[in-house]
Subunit: 244 residues, 2 copies
DNA sequence: ACAAAAGTGTTGGAGATACACCCATGA
DNA sequence: TCATGGGTGTATCTCCAACACTTTTGT
């Protein structure tokens, strides 16, 4: 029987060496569209403006003494000065051929000490209410940009796959957990709320039925305040307060 | 602005070194109870019978050219000669202090080449229909044993946490995906089917309502066969066939 | 006045819940 | 004959889906 102790924890003397990274799919909702934060970088020491870019989701190797959640928060915070944002681990990508594109390999040669070392990356998604951060875009890294979900270009490594998987997980979580409010600004209209559902679930919802459901929802509170400056009937504003 | 390129993918020259492992929470259902596969190991070269054990979930370091799913399948297969079983990645555990117990550290000293190296482990759960494998326990490693869910002892490392998280994920998946049949033998009774639901969801279900739901379920087919040798009215047997 | 989104009820059907007794078998 | 789990139907209620018109604001 093939039951040597090599199958049980840690009994093997081989010592493969890996890097572990975190990649963070940051979703932002601006009241209209769902966007994803992308990083556009030139090679270090080269002119950013001359055409050759590396586009990816924000990510980095984790530090020797750092937890995974911690790393995800650090990366996001370094890049955007956004803090206290909802972060969730959703999947770990460890295919041995994750980096197969020649351009990606070349890139790593210039940027990593051990460019050939295999990297296992832990995927996170983050949720940001863009209205609360967009007004001060200067606080964002100049190389960071929001990109609408349906216009994502081809990215480095397996990052298109990672975004796809993150979106899939977001869909699941929106129906099963109470996370959608993380994408909404503090004050929001029911129109925005419904639009957000429609984008994430990728289907249209009935307005009256949707509003009935919202009324049944705990934590959604109507404010004494309406929209202003819109070219149509101003909407009632709502807010969300977690119930004790 | 704290937006140096250190926040973006791979631009950091540090090179932490990690091991990456897979730990596999194997759930088995025998028609009565839900069980978890545990590994009991003596130190290599020591007598297994003399008291000092290391108990854990099956796991191992991944090989340099091996994918994560592949590693999970290899570990399970080495240990139990079970193959073709449902495997699912559910969470990655990377806390820097995952190994804090002195006994665990001592264990690693004896078993690992680099015992102090930080290990990030990818958690999988597997589903096994015990009736299809239990009859031939000799095919199992002698150190592997099934342990009822509610009698799990204190395990090595963070393995109690891992089992807890795996169970939690299993609960979610049972309601959202079609995976519960992976735990059922090819032929099963509605009583077993209901009991399995009750164990996993940790609540009692109404028999008549449950059976109504099963009738509505696609893929559950009544066989021309009944239980035999039971000391009560023999139950109709059913099977599950994935619909095209 | 017009354009644009906000806001508002009813009905029919499907699924969920609650509930109690008889049946077939082996010992 | 007894103990054990197997097997069955009905009534109620809640949730979901379908559907169209009026209101308020800015231009």
């Amino acid at each position: 029987m093939n039951t040597t102790s090599s199958a049980s924890h840690g009994s093997d003397m081989r010592s493969p060496t890996f890097d572990v990274s975190v990649d963070n799919v940051v979703f932002g909702f601006d009241g209209e569209d769902l966007q994803v934060l992308l990083i556009r970088q030139g090679l270090p020491g080269e002119d950013m403006g001359e055409g050759r870019f590396h586009m990816a989701v924000p990510g980095d190797l984790i530090l020797p003494e750092e937890g995974l959640d911690e790393a995800a928060a650090r990366i996001l915070s370094n890049l955007t000065s956004i803090q206290g944002i909802y972060l969730k681990q959703f999947f770990t990508f460890g295919a041995p051929d994750r980096v197969f594109d020649e351009k990606d390999k070349e890139w790593l040669t210039k940027i990593r000490r051990y460019p050939d070392r295999r990297v296992v990356t832990v995927g996170y998604y983050s949720l940001v209410a863009l209205a609360d951060y967009r007004p001060k875009p200067s606080s964002f890294a100049s190389q960071a940009e929001w990109c609408p979900l349906n216009k994502i270009p081809t990215l480095a490594f397996d990052h298109n796959t990672i975004i796809e998987a993150g979106l899939e997980k977001l869909r699941e979580d929106v129906v099963n957990k109470n996370i959608i409010f993380e994408l909404l600004p503090e004050k929001f209209t029911l129109g925005q709320f419904q639009r957000l559902h429609e984008i994430i679930l990728d289907k249209t919802l009935d307005k009256r039925n949707f509003r009935k459901n919202v009324k049944r929802m705990a934590g959604v509170i109507a404010l004494d305040e309406k929209q202003a400056g819109v070219l149509h009937k101003p909407a009632q504003l709502y807010t969300y307060r977690q119930r004790d």
